[in-house]
């Protein structure tokens, strides 16, 4: 009777793994590993290293351009500049629910997409929004202009004195 070439014979494997089994495992791991690495490489590839959108740090002009009591929504920048006396703040107008632009309303902010409502400080007063609107850091640049940094979130109610 001829031996089945694909089947390792029992007596040869006693107390260990045959060379054939070992090599099968290794090549299996190698192939599977290559496959996983290739798949991951695709994700690395499609994740852009540079984006072409707007800068997150930008100048909004001199403090005098915002009179006391002003609530000016800069829609292209997606922030609302709030001035109260000598205090200035920048509140995000991107709804924390699903990214629509909230409009300035009498009581604060209102989102047109799913009906979220916020008070003057951006705290949620109604609708599905899970978090208050973000506040961004405002600073006075050396040239005397106000600068908003959207990468720098600050606590709700933190103003810059000017």
């Amino acid at each position: 009777m001829t031996k089945n070439p694909m089947k390792p014979v029992a007596e040869e494997t006693e107390g260990g793994v045959t060379r054939r089994t070992m090599l099968s495992w290794l090549s299996g791991f190698g192939l599977l590993g290559s496959l996983i690495i290739a798949a991951l490489a695709n994700f690395v590839f499609i994740k852009p290293r540079a984006t072409y959108g707007q800068p997150n740090r930008f100048s909004i002009g001199k403090p005098e351009e915002f009179p006391s009591g002003a609530r000016i929504s800069l829609d292209t920048r997606r922030v609302c500049i709030v001035r109260d006396g000598d205090k200035v703040a920048a509140i995000s107008t991107t709804c924390t629910h699903l990214g629509c632009i909230v409009g300035v309303s009498e009581t604060g902010f209102a989102c047109p997409c799913h009906g979220s409502r916020f008070d003057q400080d951006g705290n949620v007063t109604g609708g599905p929004a899970p978090r208050p609107l973000q506040w961004y850091q405002v600073s006075l640049a050396p040239n005397g202009e106000l600068e908003v940094d959207k990468d720098n979130e600050i606590e709700v109610g933190t103003y810059l004195k000017v």
């Binding site: 984006t51 829609d75 292209t76 629910h97 699903l98 990214g99 047109p112 997409c113 799913h114 009906g115």
Partner: protein, 444 residues
Amino acid sequence: MSTQTTIRPRKGLLALPENIWHSVFRNPLPSSDLGRASTSFTNFFLHIHPVKVHRHSLKATYTFGLGLIASFLFLILTVTGVLLMFYYVPSTTQAYDRMLDLRGTVAFGIFLRNMHRWAAHAMVAVVFLHMCRVFLTGAYKPPREFNWVLGILLLLVTFFLSFTGYLLPWDQLAFWAITVGTSIAGYAPVVGREVRFLLLGDSTVGQEALLRFYVLHCAVLPIVLTLLATIHFWRIRKDGGLARPAEEDAVSGDTSQAGEVAIVSAPTVVMATSAGAAAAARPLVEKRQYGIQGLVRGPLTKVGSLTDRFRFSWPDLFQAELLVFVITVAAILVVSLFFNAPLEEPVNVMHPPNPAKAPWYFLGLQEMVSYSAFWGGVGIPTIEVLILLLVPYLDRKQVGVGKWFARERLLANSLFMTFAVVNVVLIVIGTFFRGANWEFVSPW
């Protein structure tokens, strides 16, 4: 054998055209059962079908041809989509102008866009109805569990295809629907933000997102859908055709059948039949040689005069399929003649339309999202999909297979109908009862 089933080349130069023709089409138009069998068997496009199909599978009121309609709609979408690609540019500065060009200057441009849009809407609806049909007839039960899973994946790919296509006109509707849709993805735990960033290629919807959606819509997803659909079709054959009640395979009052099978040794056409019949087949054992026929699970089907419940695919099945095809194309053509695909104002990233609504089939989702972004947009849909995927592995009892609203399946069918109706009601609310700021309005 008296009937001619294959044609030998004839001698002489005059026979050249005829010989060329017959080198492509090997069978004359069939006039006998053997010819009918050979015609389906030797033609590349027809051999996807079995030579014979059970009469139960041919009943229009059993399937309503829904799966077939879905695949024909996909065919229409592929053809019109490729044609539209000749004029479309995935650029934020050009895309909208190209939409206007389709209206104004391109021959049949508006008509092709209408066909593409309406066929896409129809495909979402028909794929969903096809799923309902399969569930309500209990057709997902073993051995068809995996084909049901493939079907759910196909439903998801269909959704994703229409979602990616939605952005391409680059109008207000497109921009805000995708802004909302990708934000929902951002709510997924752990990977949400990353997935959103990979989808958009940026932190907001812009040029990168348009290009990515274009590639997904025109290349990646159609290939995925074609691959899955091919396996879906192949599995139908391997699982013994469409599901049908066990009694349809019972040999009733025809005790002579077994004997006759043994007697007739003329060329028989072997085909796999239903699970019920497969049970009758002898189990395969190791260390034995089998011919290809021995590996086919199922009994032999006779080609001769023996009566059985099977009909030849040529012409019964092919006629039916042609009819479904013609009706599908005609319906899309007529709708495209009378109704234009909507096109809103060009994108204005500063002013979302109020209310900003997704396409109708996502309005159920949007309605749920208006209560809770995570649960409505991620949690509940994920649970629904998981349950749908697991259905055939949980409900395995072989009762009520191949029958609409079978009494034995009252509980399963009621649960499914609840699921379907709730989703439809949510869509209706989102479509007709929601106005500015997503507040409840009466459509009357």
